[in-house]
């Protein structure tokens, strides 16, 4: 809780912080975003209408990341609870003043951009939980009353997001929050119980269909049906997933080439610049291209984990790991979805999909990761270069 826990004296000051940044991570993130620009340029048929705003957002995102990185990590730890509370308030506000868009209330119009509080929650929830476990003495981590509190912290936003309704984001919040709890060292048995409970819940959800107490919306059930058997309705609800698989599969080993993806260019793909952008990448650049993106993502995660494990501070390592896991969940769910491994739940591909909120929030998260990296406690003799 106190600043004194940090070896402040050994933390770089001023412009030295810029040199202390995790530059490998910056490069990896930029490389991934560049892949996004190329695919967006191609998917619009050789037009800058998506690539250009995306580049501007990424530039803005980089700026946000640097600013966040310059601010000491203990500041972020101290405001974590406040940020969480504000995001929760925004989520509630969406319920009240939200602008209807895409069939669901998800935005608050700030004038210059549309803020999606559920996106923001993906980061602030991780920060909140990290701060919570930093504050909680490690010995109390698995005590039931101290387990119940983080569960409430997670379920509150999950419930609000589910009401929007946005199944994809609520799943990401649930899984991301759970991951932080797991990383913090909560006992195995709780997770076993939750997983067993989840299986029971899924059964209940499926059983409730068509009854008075139906849990999910009809369209969500249809998406589940489509996922389970996309060929049953190839021109209706299964159209998205069928066309997506065709696009992916037809890419083959090396792909059809830049701007040669027929499925995307001829509009057979739905949401080709947002949720289904991975299919275009895979169609035009083939297995090699798709694998390359996956490797980039995994490298980002690997660098985050490496940074977290070297960091002696509990908040810093938990928030870094939490963000890494959340990031993993984003792309893993998206890829599973477009490859027909999971139902279509509307999750964008991080750093690549066209969209403002998601990009900015993600860069904010990487800013926190960088801040944790820059302001990590250093042992004696470490960072001599910086002191000079």
């Amino acid at each position: 809780m106190s600043y004194l826990e940090y070896n402040v004296a050994r933390v770089p000051q001023g412009l030295q912080k810029v040199l202390a940044l995790n530059w490998a991570l910056v490069l990896l993130i930029t490389a991934t975003a560049c892949i996004g620009f190329v695919v967006l340029y191609s998917v619009s048929g050789g037009d800058w209408r998506w690539a250009e705003p995306q580049m501007q957002r990424f530039a803005m995102g980089l700026a946000v990341m640097f600013i966040v990185a310059m601010i000491p990590i203990w500041f972020w730890r101290n405001v974590s609870a406040l940020l969480y509370a504000m995001t929760l308030a925004l989520l509630l506000a969406v319920e009240l003043v939200g602008v209807t868009g895409g069939g669901a209330q998800r935005w608050i119009d700030l004038g210059f951009m549309r803020l999606q509080p559920s996106e923001l929650m993906k980061v602030t929830l991780v920060m909140m939980l990290a701060a919570y476990y930093d504050w909680l003495p490690p010995s109390k981590v698995s005590r039931p009353q101290w387990v119940l509190l983080p569960i409430l912290i997670i379920l509150l936003p999950v419930f609000l997001v589910l009401k929007q309704p946005d199944l994809g984001t609520s799943i990401l919040l649930l899984a991301g929050g759970g991951a932080v709890m797991f990383l913090a060292g909560v006992h195995w048995a709780y997770f076993a119980t939750v997983i067993a409970g989840a299986v029971g819940l899924v059964t209940a959800v499926l059983q409730s269909r068509g009854t008075d107490w139906q849990i999910l919306q009809d369209y969500q059930y249809r998406r589940i049906d489509t996922f389970l058997d996309p060929d049953s309705d190839p021109l209706g609800a299964g159209y998205h997933i069928t066309q997506s698989k065709i696009a992916l599969g037809s890419g083959g080993w090396t792909g059809k080439g830049f701007m040669q993806g027929t499925q995307a260019r001829l509009n057979f793909l739905p949401e080709k610049h947002t949720d289904f952008i991975f299919t275009t990448l895979a169609e035009e650049w083939g297995f090699v291209g798709a694998l390359s993106l996956l490797v980039l993502y995994l490298l980002i995660i690997a660098f985050c984990i490496a940074s977290a494990l070297r960091n002696k501070d509990r908040y810093a390592s938990l928030v870094t790991l939490g963000i890494a896991v959340a990031f993993f969940l984003f792309f893993a769910v998206n890829m599973s979805m477009v490859m027909g491994l999971a139902p279509v739940v509307g999750v964008p591909l991080p750093l690549v999909s066209y969209g403002g909120s998601a990009m900015l929030v993600l860069m904010l998260a990487f800013g926190v990761v960088q801040s944790a990296h820059v302001h990590r406690p250093r042992a004696a003799g470490e960072g001599r270069l910086l002191r000079r």
Partner: protein
Amino acid sequence: MKRNPQELSLSSRRITRRALVTGGLMTAFSGLLVARMNHLQVDQADEFLLLAEENRIKVRLLAPARGVIFDRNGRILAGNEQIYRVSMIREDADDVDETITRLRGLVRLDEERLQRAIREMDRRPHQAVTLADRLSWEELSTIAVNVPALPGITPEVGLSRVYPLGQDYAHVIGYVGRVSERDLENEEDQDPLLQTPQFQIGKIGAERRLEHVLRGKAGSRRVEQNAAGRIMRELGRTPGQSGKDVQLTIDAALQNFTQVRLAGESASCVVMDVTNGDVLAAVSSPAYDPNLFVSGISVPDYAALRDNDHRPLHNKIVQGLYPPGSTFKMVTQLAALEAGLVAPGETVWCPGYLTVSNRRFHCWKRGGHGHVDAAKSLRESCDVYYYEMAQRAGIDRIAAMARKLGLGVAHDIEMTSISDGLIPDREWKRVRRGEAWRIGDSLNASIGQGYVLTSPLQLCVMTARLASGLEVVPRLVRSIDGVAQPSGVKRPLDIPRSLLDLQREAMYQVVNARGGTAGRSRFDMGGVKWAGKTGTSQVRNITAAERARGVFRNEDLPWERRDHALYVGYAPHDDPKYAISVVVEHGGGGSAAAAPVARDVMLYALSGGMPPVSAYPAGQQGEMAEYLASLPVDPALTPPAGKSEA
């Protein structure tokens, strides 16, 4: 508050452990993603590539240009015209009513046509449906400029069939039209072209009979289509093969004159070249404009054609069946002569009637013809002579002769709905009527009444065979794609020349001798004269009461009960070139209603232009000059008199 360092280090180790476990789980899941990628993109790549190609590549058929139909002089009778039309794909239109309202503000649209198109769009929302065609260039441009405001609307340029000479060819060439459900069910013709929108198929006449020649072969165009069905680009095309051009034996100028000459009558006329069977003119009157049918005829227009008592939709040339009346007498006489049952000079006494098995059979001339020999019987058309011949020869001999001369046989020229006609004999009556043949039937048949039915084409063939002594078969198609079709003459008729000469002499007398029934229709064009035979066939029975009153003038009867007027003839009489048959329905007497038509048409054929007034008998010249000048012939086909003489 400093934390317990031991606890912190424990916590740090736990986080490291859990982080490694989480990292392991993430790696494992990534492995699953890679495996899935590999499965889709490497293992199943070929299958999905095929599906993607099927998604985007569509093969569009290219309709070949339909073969052009020419007359014997190379004049276009049926051609292809570039037309501007506007079509609509319902699916691409946001608001169909709104779009059509806007379109209506730009060009005039035929309401009925539009309603039909809207109904069709409901059935086929993905297909282009024509809303209007034959637009002017200005109208098309107006639409093209406004296309952004007209979603789903496409202005286009296409080929459509056009019949420049209009109604002259309604019955010879027929028309093309939209492919109907029935056309699609035809198992012999499963050409995929039929499925293409706006494809036209021959419906009747030569267009239908020569469909396989005229249609050509479809080309194809491989196009890339987007998800909405819009064509993005062309990937390649295989050229089709245009339909073959066809040249008919018809002479457009003669056809036009004949059509004009028959105007107002319910009639038909066929002119043939006796030396090769070429059909030079084949007219059924009244006719209609086949162009009306090409883009779909309107309901009121069709009703007017259908309900007209002169039956314009009926092709009387081959579909019209009439008792041949006295034009059949050559058949009866030849049958008797050929069998040696009568000598040419032998006379029969005609008192005006003949009583056979207690029934009185009348001659048309109540006072009788007196002594009648073969030539006089034909010249004056004495019925009693033929009653006698029928008794001598018997119906089977007469029927055999009729068939030999081309009656009772469907001549397969390139027209639709060709009738066989009917030449009755004992066998026919036994089988079809279940009755025995009676002598009265023979007597009626001998003068071309009773059961006998013939079409104008058959009568013309008969005349051509009598005139040439050859087994002339009519021919409507002269050449296909430049390849001449076989001549219509195969071999000489199996009838002794002397008998045919006798017939021809008698037919010459019909026109040119004193007392001949067609005397008023004689002509002399610089020594060229003609021969023929009149016929008047009853369409009703004359009651005994009418006969007793002696009042049955045709003019006093309602139109549909008047006699049919017939005439067959050929010219020149000494070296036959053309044969002609004319049937004027309910026209009255053959000599008055049919022979003058035949004469004018024949003179046109012989002179190759408007009949020269000098060929007519002196007393008729003034009247004919005035009449011929009043005929509204097509000046492009028949040059005005002044020029043709120059």
